[in-house]
């Protein structure tokens, strides 16, 4: 939110100042200056071009986020308080954070590796071909296939009467749930989550994979390199920051995913999003106003750490692009 505010104030100051004193925003622009009217008018016009997006994100991103987080700092009577934040140290809440962490980490790593393999395999497929279009379409549907439909799918597959459960028991004598029914517990989230993590990896990582330039492999071949030198010395180092960026995206995706868990786990609140839902619903019963707000703050702190790391990775990614 502070970002868009900064951008707006920059735009504002540029407008307020006399046009002559505007610093050249672009070196190439200043060198092409003799046309006189143009260099003066264009930066202004260009800044105006940023305002619709800035206004939109301000209204539908900054304002709602501020309102949601602000509730964590107020008690039931609207007075400022930090008491709500102490809830974050409770064992149940800490446990939920731990569960969220390991579910997100496991599914992000597994999803990123499997997804990257699929991207690699897709390089051998014609980009305009049917297979590629099929994979693109299927990935897009599955990546956001979360929520109730995903819960339905896995109850039908590995639920107590699921197709795979029954098959394994009747034909192979293997009882999936010999140690109790784990599908409706935290471990049960792993397979459903992977079902949207892998396709999301394909979607987000494929453009980077396609960005590998043909000239690099030609250079590798010219210098006598093999397939393995191309991948280990050229492609992988170039793709690494992008891969890690996608990995963080997957982690964040799992960490904040709510609908699937809500549909699968009806009892208790084992992960953080379910705790927030519980707090929102039963606020008055618990006698803890605005607990949801403080849980949200805790969640966002985790996310901010992840995204700071992501941004550092992006800075690295750009090194090889010039």
């Amino acid at each position: 939110m502070s970002a868009s505010a900064t951008r707006r104030s920059e735009a504002g100051s540029a407008h307020a100042g006399p046009a002559v004193s505007l610093p050249p925003t672009d070196a190439s622009d200043a060198s092409a200056a003799p046309a006189e009217a143009r260099p003066r008018r264009r930066p202004r016009w260009a800044l105006l071009g940023l305002t619709p997006f800035a206004l939109y994100t301000l209204l539908f991103l900054a304002v709602p986020t501020f309102l949601a987080l602000a509730t964590g700092f107020f008690d039931g009577d609207g007075a400022f308080t930090l008491d709500n934040l102490t809830a974050l140290a409770e064992p149940a809440v800490l446990g939920a954070f731990a569960s969220s962490f390991w579910v997100s980490a496991v599914t992000a790593v597994a999803g990123a590796v499997i997804g990257a393999l699929v991207c690699y395999a897709l390089l051998a497929v014609r980009p305009d071909g049917l297979i590629r279009t099929f994979v693109d379409a299927a990935s897009s549907v599955l990546a956001q296939f979360g929520g109730v439909m995903l819960a339905f799918a896995f109850i039908a597959t590995i639920g107590i009467q699921g197709l795979v459960t029954v098959f394994l028991k009747d034909r192979l004598g293997v009882d999936l749930f010999a140690d109790g029914v784990w599908l409706y517990q935290v471990p049960g989230l792993l397979l459903p989550y992977l079902y949207f993590q892998v396709p999301l990896m394909v979607i987000t990582f494929m453009p980077a994979m396609e960005g590998l330039k043909r000239t690099w492999s030609e250079a590798n071949a010219t210098l006598g390199g093999t397939r393995s030198t191309y991948w280990t010395r050229i492609a992988m180092p170039i793709l690494a920051p992008s891969f890690l960026g996608s990995l963080l995206l997957l982690f964040a995706n799992a960490f904040s995913s709510y609908a699937t868990a809500a549909a699968l786990i009806s009892q208790g609140a084992q992960i953080v999003p379910l705790q927030i839902r519980g707090a929102l619903i039963s606020e008055t019963v618990l006698g803890r106003e605005n607990l949801a707000g403080s849980l949200a703050i805790g969640m966002i702190v985790v996310m901010v750490v992840m995204m700071t790391a992501y941004s550092a990775l992006q800075a690295r990614t750009e090194r090889w692009q010039r």
Binding site: A3, T6, D26, A46, G49, L50, P52, F53, T57, F60, L61, P64, L67, A68, V118, Y120, A121, L122, L123, A124, V125, D128, R132, T133, V135, D136, A138, S140, V141, L142, A143, Q144, F145, G146, G147, M149, A153, F154, A156, L163, V198, T204, P207, E210, S217, E218, A221, R227, L249, S256, Y258, A259, P273, L280, A296, I300, M303, M307, S311, T317
Partner: protein, 270 residues
């Protein structure tokens, strides 16, 4: 040439093995859903009973909420894609060309929706939407303003990846040198080069909107997902059947968008 090709792309065999294994594993839950909807009763056996029930005119009132939800979701998907193409794309190009210093800021803004989960955002969206409802009414499409934000990180990443592999600066400068106006540069020079990124962004946006449940349910709107939940409580078989239909519908839609995109690409770059 073929040796060069070999090192950059996997062998046909390796590629096929990876794709087939992943495809089979991912097909199992879908096939299980199909099997689930065909179950005849407690004693086992399969028939088309649950599917016939959907078509039965007697049930049409019972499932009307579902059709309404699907309609709303399609409208929402279209408006959300419009927001991405009209608001996000020009802003990204503008920042890349004219305000490189703001690139970090734009990226930061676009990544925020990931750090702000839907369930957190919806608490703050409720008061915003009470204002929106007063100004624009509470028609289903207004929810697209929220979805445009939800979609931002994915759309941004898709377009940014494409922007990085295209030398936008040189292209724009070349076009400007040849006398093109900014409109021409944007639509006839940059957009064709960014087609894959824009297409990917649109495709992801559509999928996000079709799958969104949290915001719609907590703001009390009727979309595909919320109506599925509603129906699943009374009739799980039909809910699974509709989930399958929704999937197939979304898949076919995205498949067609994908085909149209690649056919046009072939035609324009012979």
């Amino acid at each position: 040439m073929s040796a060069v090709r070999d090192s950059a792309t996997p062998s046909k065999l390796a590629s096929r093995i990876i794709l087939v294994v992943v495809a089979v594993v991912f097909a199992v839950p879908i096939l299980s859903m199909v099997e689930f909807t065909l179950r005849a009763g407690i004693d086992g056996g399969h028939d088309l009973g649950h599917w016939a029930a959907i078509l039965d005119p007697e049930n049409s009132r019972k499932y009307r909420v579902l059709f309404q939800g699907i309609g709303n979701s399609v409208v929402l998907a279209a408006v959300t894609v419009l927001i991405v193409v009209v608001l996000l794309l020009p802003t990204m190009i503008l920042v890349k060309l004219r305000f490189p210093k703001l690139q970090r800021v734009l990226e930061f803004v676009c990544i925020i929706p990931i750090t702000v989960p839907a369930i957190v955002l919806v608490v703050g969206l409720a008061p915003v939407y009470s204002v929106v409802a007063r100004l624009l009414g509470s028609a289903p499409w207004t929810l697209a303003f929220a979805y445009g934000i939800t979609v931002l990180p994915y759309a941004y990443r898709a377009i940014a990846a494409n922007l990085q592999s295209v030398d936008v600066g040189t292209l724009a400068e070349a076009a400007r040198t040849l006398g093109a106006g900014w409109g021409t540069v944007l639509v006839r020079v940059l957009l064709p080069n960014l087609r894959r990124g824009v297409l990917t962004a649109s495709v992801i946006s559509v999928a996000v909107v079709l799958g969104e449940y949290t915001i719609a349910s907590l703001l009390g709107r009727n979309t595909l997902q919320t109506s599925l939940v509603q129906v699943s409580k009374s009739d799980p078989f039909v809910a699974v059947a509709f989930a399958l239909l929704a999937l197939a519908f979304a898949f076919v839609l995205l498949f067609i968008i994908g085909r149209v995109g690649s056919i046009r690409r072939i035609r324009e770059t012979p």
